[in-house]
Symmetry: C2
Subunit: 697 residues, 2 copies
C-alpha cells in the first residue's frame, strides 16, 4: 500500500474521526485516495514512483494532434504543481520513459455524446503506464495522475497503484448563464479547466434571455447590437472558447431559448414578437411576458438562418432550444394567435409551444443538430429524438424516459440555490424519487448537468459559487452509484481546491479579496474573514424576495463574498455534535473557546461594519452572530459545570434563538444549528433532568 | 478633514502606537493618507466625493491616444476595485463629469528621461479635477486617486483633499534578471502594472549573461538558439512588452552586458571570445572567465549590427552595456591580448575595458543611443556622456558625478539580498555616505534603481520577493527627502498589497500556494503558514555559500516560499519591545500566549516536516523555532512572576540561543532578536538585580 499516502490519509482520517465523532481511523486502503471524482476501481501496490527532473513521457499509438497537446499541457501543469522544470520531458522511446502512454485509435476532432472515456493507469516504482482508446480517456487518466502527485520525504511522487476507470454517465454538464451577468472569456476558460479537472464533459451556455442576447450574429446583427449593451461574445471569441474546450475533451452546447424568455431578441426584431412592441431589455429577474409569435410564418426562416449561422460556430451535434417558463399571456391576449389556436383545436399554450417546436425541429435537424430542451418541451406530439433536460423535478425525467426520450437531470443540481454539497451529492439521476426505472428506461438517462443561473453570480464571484460544490455533482455523474461517503467527499475538498488553484481557480482568494474591499483595513479583514465563515447566503430563491435587484445593482456586499456552504461552519457543527454526543470536557472547552473567539471577533467588528457600505446592511447579522455565540458559550459553560440552568433560562434562550432566526434576511447564521444542539443537550443533561424532577408535584 | 479616512487611520495609528509603544495616536491630518509613494504636498478638505454608478470622466486637452487609453484603463480598474459596473463612464461635457481631467499638451509617443510627471488633483464633494502636462502626470494622478478610493458608510468614496505632486528624481527604476531564471511575459506585465502603481518609470532588463541570452536576434540567431535552451523572448513578445510599458509611462532599458558575463554569447559565436572555445552555458552562479576579445577587430561590426537590431526593438534613448565584474583572467592568459595591451601601455584590464568602451560608444551613439553602464565602466578616458549605475557603493556614485557623469544609485537597493524594507528606505541617492555633493553634482544624480537578481528568484516567487519592499525604494525616489517615517511606511504596506492585488500581484497568495505544495494537507498548511511567518531567508549572499545551486535546482522549498521580510515577525518584535519597555502584565501575557501558540504549531509540524522533501531540510529550523519560543516563553514567565531565575539559567539561556543562532543556514529564525530582548529585560529586572547583589562578596 502507498506508504506516504497512507500516512497522510491517516491524518485526514483522524481529523475526520474527530469531526464526525466516529472515533475510529478510516482504513488506509485504496478506497481513500485524494481523487475527485473517485475512480471506478483502484488497487494499491507497494512503493511509489518518483517525479524528478528526469521525468519523461513517451506516447505510443496513432498520430494524434489532440493527444500531443494534451500531453504537452500535462507536462506544463506537472511542472507548475511541483515547481520542477523538466528539461527534456519527451522520451524518444519507451525504455527511457517514466510514464508510457498508449492510445489505440486517433481522437475524433470533435467530442461526441458517447465517446470511450475509460482509461487504465498503473503506477509502479519503476514507471507508470496509461492506456485509453484515445485522447479523451488519456486526458482523464492524466488528470487522475496529477491529482495523485504529492511531496513525500524523498521528493515529488505518486504512490504505486492501479486504477481502472470510466464514467457512469456520458453527459456530465455544467450550465452557465452569461446573460444576467456577463462572464468574460478568461473567466470561462478557467471554468473549462476546472471542469476538465473533475471530468465534466459538457459546457452548456444559455446565451440569450430576456436581459440580453450575448453572441454576435453577423446575419442578424441587431440581436447583439440592440440586445447586449456591448457585452457579447464575438464570433472569434466563441471559436476560441470552443477550441479551448475541445482541447480539454469538453463539448460546448449553446442554448438559444425560444419562444419564451426572448425579450432581448425582440428589442432588435420586434416583428417576431406576439405583441407589436417596441420591446426593451428587461433589467430585473423573473418570468416575463415577451414571447415569439409561433403563428408568424416569417419566424421560421429567421430562426432557420440564425440557427444555421450558430451551427457554424458551435460544431457540437446538439443545440438547446430552451423552452422553459412560457406564460402564454401574450398569446392569449392576441386575437390572431387565439384564432390560430382555436382553428386547430389547441387547448392551451402547451399545444402552441408543441406546434412551434414541431415546426422548428426539422429545420435544426437539417443543420445536422439533435435538439435538447427544458422539460416543458415534453408533449405527446413531439418526436422522440428530442432530449429532455429536467429542471422541475426527477418525476419529469422519469416521464421523459418512459415516453421514449433521452433525458438529463438538472433538478437537484442548481448551484445558484446555495445549498450544501451533500444535498446535491444525494441526488442520483436514476433514483427518480423512488419510482423504479426499467433498465431500458434507465439507459435513456444520459446523465446530468449542474446549473449556475447568474441572478446573484458575477464574473467576480462565479468561482466562489461553483467550486468545490460542483465537484460533488461531478462525482455523482462519474463515479459508481455506491460511492456515497459524505464525510470522505468533504475530506477531499481542501485538496481539490489546491488542485484547482494550480489552474487559477481560487474561490478562497476571491472571498478574501471581496472581504478586503469591504473591510478596507487589514486588521478588520482578519476578523471579518473569520466571522464570515459562520455566515452563508440565504438558500433557494429567497434572496430575490426583496425585489430590489436588477442587472445593474453591484454584487459586492458581504452576502456576495460568502461561501455558499462554509466548510468551517460545517466542521464546527460536527465538532459540537461530537462534543455533546460523547460528553467530554476537553471537547466542550474547545467548543467554548471557539465561540468566545467568534463573539469577540463579531463584537470588535461593529465599527467596521457600520463604516462600510458593503457591510452595514449586515450589521444585524454580525450582531446576532455575536449574541448567538454568547448564548451558545453560556450553554457550554452550564454543560461543563454540570450545573442546573437558572429557572426559565433554557426557554428564554430558545425564544431568543428563534427570534434571531426569524430576523434573518439575505444572510443565514450558521451558529443557530449548533446552538440548538447545545440547548438540546443541556435539556437532556442530568442536572436539568434533576430540575425537571424537582419541579414535579 | 476627510472623516472616514480619519477614522480608519485612527485605527491604524492606534495599532501602530501599540506596536511601537509610542502610546499616542497619530494625527489624522493630511500627512497620514494611504498613498504610497507619498505625495509632495497634501492638504485636507471637508467631506468626500461619492463613487457610484453614475461616475463619469471628462477629458479636456489636446487629442492624445495615450491619454485615452490611460483613462479607459483607469475606469476598468475603478470598476474592478469597487465591484461597480459604470454604465456610461465618459461624460460628453465638463458639467456632466464627476472627474474632470485636463492636460495641456500631447503626450510624447515614447517617454524620455525628464518628462514632466507632476500633477495636481483636487477632490471636492461635488467633483474632482486632475491636471497635468500630459498623460504621464495624469497617469500618476489617477494612480493616486485609485489608492484613495475606499468604502465608507455611504458607498465607495474619495475624501476631499488637494494634492500637488511631482517626483524628486526623474529615473526611478526596477532591474529584472530573466537570465538566471526565466521570467515569462505575463509575469513581466504584472510587474509593469505594479511599477506603475508605485510610480516607478524605468524597467531595466539584464537580457544576457553567462547563463543565457534571452532575446531573439534575427541577425545573429545563434545568440538565442544556442544561448537560451528555448527560453527567450521573441521579437514580437519584446514589442508587446515595450508597448505595454509605454502605455503605463514606463521606459524599457535593455542591458546587453559586454565584454564580461558573456559566456552565453560565446556558445554560438566563440570567435569573439578571448580564448578559442568552445564555450558552454554556465549553470552555476558567480563570476566567470569567458570574456569577449576587445582586440578582435571583427567584434565591433558584430556588436554594431546587433545593437542596431536591438535599437529597433527598444526605442528608449538609453542602452545599458553592463560592464561589471570583469576578471581579466582570459585577457592575461592570451598572448595576443597581452601584446596588444603592452603595445599601448595599458596597465591592466581596466584600461582594456576602457579601450573597448571607447570603441563601442560611438557605434551606439550612431544608433541614437545614450549609454549607461555599471560603475566599473568609470575610467578617466571615458566620455562624460555615459551614465554610471553605481552598484558597489555610494562612493562610486559620488566619484561619477564629481567626474561630470550623470549617475543612478543601485547600491543599497538590491532586493535579492532579502533585507528589510527599512534598510533600503534609509538609503538616499544624495546622502553619499556623508560626503556632501555640490548642488551641481547632486543635479547629476538622476535617481536610482532597485535590482532583483534572479539566482534565487523564479517566475513563481518573483512577486513575493519584490513587493512590498520595492515600494519603499519607490517612495525614496519619488517623495520629498524629509519623508522618513518608518512606522508609517510599514503601516501602509497592507493597503498597498490590497491595491496590487487588484492588478493580480499577490505575494501572499504565492506564499500560501508554495507552502500548500510543501505541506500537502490543509491542516498542516495552516500551522506551517503561521510558523513560516517567523522565518526569513538568510540575508545577503550567504544562500550561495553551500555552492549547491545551479539554474536547474528547483526553488520550491520552504526558504523559497518565505517573505524576505516578515511583517508578522516585525510586528512581534515591536510588540516585545513595547511589552518590556513599559513593563505591563497584560502585554507580557499577550507575548507569552503568542509564543506558546508558536511553539505548539512548530512542534506539531514535526511529522509534516519530515514527510515532505520541500520541508525536511528545514527540520532543524522548525525545531529551533519551537525551542526558542519555549525559551522566550520561560523568560516571559519569570518577568511576569517577578521571580529570580534559577542560578545559571540566564547564562544557559543565552548560550542556548547563541548555539541555535550559529546553526542557522539558509533560513533565519526571527524569534532570536525578541528572545534576546526578553533575556536582557530579565537581566535588568529587580529580581535579577537582587540576585546579582546577593552574589557580591
Amino acid at each position: 500500500m502507498p506508504v506516504l499516502l497512507a500516512i497522510r490519509f491517516a491524518v485526514i482520517a483522524a481529523l475526520l474521526a474527530l469531526l464526525t465523532g466516529l472515533g475510529s481511523a478510516a482504513s488506509t486502503d485504496a478506497d481513500r485516495l485524494p481523487i475527485l471524482p473517485y475512480p471506478a476501481r483502484v488497487s494499491g501496490a507497494e512503493g511509489f514512483l518518483a517525479v524528478q527532473n528526469g521525468f519523461r513521457v513517451h506516447v505510443d499509438g496513432p498520430v494524434d494532434p489532440l493527444l500531443e497537446q494534451t500531453v504537452a499541457r500535462f507536462l506544463e501543469r506537472l511542472s507548475a504543481k511541483t515547481g520542477i522544470r523538466f528539461l527534456a520531458p519527451r522520451a524518444a522511446d519507451q525504455a527511457m520513459a517514466t510514464l508510457r502512454i498508449r492510445s489505440t485509435s486517433p481522437t475524433p476532432v470533435w467530442p461526441g455524446l458517447r465517446e470511450d472515456e475509460a482509461y487504465v493507469v498503473e503506477v509502479r516504482p519503476e514507471g507508470a503506464t496509461l492506456q485509453a482508446a484515445n485522447a479523451f480517456g488519456i486526458r482523464h487518466g492524466l488528470e487522475t495522475f496529477l491529482q495523485l502527485v504529492e511531496f513525500g520525504a524523498g521528493g515529488a511522487m505518486v504512490s504505486a497503484l492501479r486504477i481502472e476507470d470510466q464514467p457512469r454517465f456520458p453527459w456530465r454538464g455544467l450550465m452557465l448563464d452569461p446573460v444576467r451577468h456577463f462572464l468574460p472569456l478568461d473567466v470561462l476558460k478557467r471554468q473549462v479547466d476546472a471542469m476538465a479537472a473533475v471530468k465534466l464533459n459538457v459546457l452548456h451556455f444559455r446565451f440569450a434571455d430576456d436581459q440580453a442576447f450575448r453572441v454576435e450574429s453577423k446575419r442578424f446583427p441587431k440581436l447583439h447590437e440592440a440586445g447586449a449593451e456591448g457585452q457579447f461574445y464575438t464570433q472569434e471569441q466563441i471559436r476560441e472558447l470552443v477550441e479551448y474546450a475541445r482541447q480539454r475533451g469538453i463539448r460546448v452546447v449553446p442554448e438559444f431559448c425560444v419562444p419564451g424568455h426572448t425579450a432581448a431578441w425582440l428589442v432588435g426584431y420586434p416583428e417576431f414578437g406576439s405583441r407589436p412592441g417596441p420591446y426593451t431589455l428587461i433589467r430585473s429577474f423573473g418570468i416575463f411576458e415577451p414571447t415569439m409569435d409561433p403563428t408568424n410564418e416569417a419566424l421560421y426562416p429567421f430562426l432557420d438562418e440564425l440557427f444555421g449561422e450558430m451551427a457554424g460556430l458551435f460544431p457540437d451535434s446538439f443545440v438547446h432550444i430552451g423552452g422553459d417558463e412560457i406564460t402564454g399571456k401574450h398569446w392569449a391576449e392576441t386575437p390572431r394567435i387565439r384564432a390560430f389556436m382555436e382553428e386547430r383545436g389547441m387547448k392551451g399554450w402547451p399545444d402552441l409551444q408543441a406546434h412551434f417546436n414541431k415546426r422548428l425541429l426539422p429545420l435544426l435537424n437539417a443543420h445536422g443538430k439533435r435538439v435538447i430542451g427544458w422539460d416543458e418541451v415534453l408533449h405527446p406530439d413531439l418526436p422522440r429524438s428530442i432530449v429532455v433536460q429536467s429542471w422541475r423535478g426527477q418525476k419529469e425525467l422519469g416521464a421523459a424516459v418512459r415516453d421514449g426520450h433521452e433525458g438529463i437531470l438538472s433538478s437537484g443540481y442548481y448551484l445558484d440555490l446555495m445549498l450544501p454539497a451533500e444535498s446535491h451529492y444525494a441526488v442520483d439521476p436514476l433514483s427518480n424519487g423512488g419510482d423504479a426505472l426499467s433498465s431500458d428506461e434507465a439507459s435513456r438517462v444520459l446523465g446530468g448537468e449542474t446549473c449556475a443561473w447568474s441572478e446573484f453570480i458575477t464574473a467576480e464571484n462565479l468561482e466562489l459559487k461553483l467550486w468545490p460544490r460542483g465537484a460533488a455533482i461531478a462525482e455523482r455523474l462519474w463515479s459508481p452509484r455506491e460511492r456515497m461517503d459524505v464525510p470522505f467527499l468533504y475530506a477531499r475538498f481542501p485538496r481539490l481546491l489546491e488542485e484547482l488553484g494550480w489552474l487559477g481557480v481560487e474561490p478562497e482568494r476571491i472571498r478574501r479579496r471581496m472581504l478586503a474591499r469591504a473591510a478596507n483595513d487589514s486588521d478588520s479583514l482578519d476578523r471579518l474573514t473569520r466571522v464570515a465563515e459562520f455566515l452563508e447566503p440565504v438558500k433557494r430563491y429567497h434572496r430575490a424576495d426583496s425585489g430590489d435587484y436588477t442587472v445593474f445593482r453591484p454584487l459586492n456586499r458581504l452576502v456576495d463574498a460568502l461561501w455558499p456552504e462554509s466548510m468551517a461552519a460545517r466542521g464546527f457543527r460536527l465538532q459540537v455534535d461530537a462534543a455533546v454526543g460523547t460528553p467530554n470536557l476537553a471537547a466542550l472547552a474547545a467548543v467554548r473557546v471557539r465561540l468566545e473567539g467568534l463573539e469577540a471577533d463579531a463584537r470588535s467588528l461593529s465599527e467596521t461594519v457600520v463604516g462600510s457600505a458593503l457591510l452595514n446592511d449586515a450589521a444585524g447579522d454580525v450582531e446576532r452572530l455575536a449574541q448567538s455565540a454568547a448564548l451558545a458559550a453560556d450553554a457550554v459553560r452550564y454543560l461543563e459545570a454540570g450545573k442546573k440552568t437558572p429557572p426559565g433560562w433554557l426557554e428564554r434562550a430558545r425564544t431568543s434563538l428563534s427570534q434571531m432566526e426569524a430576523r434573518q434576511g439575505e444572510i443565514l447564521n450558521m451558529l443557530f444549528a449548533p446552538a440548538h444542539t447545545l440547548l438540546d443537550a443541556l435539556s437532556r443533561s442530568p442536572a436539568e433532568q434533576g430540575t425537571f424532577k424537582d419541579s414535579q408535584p
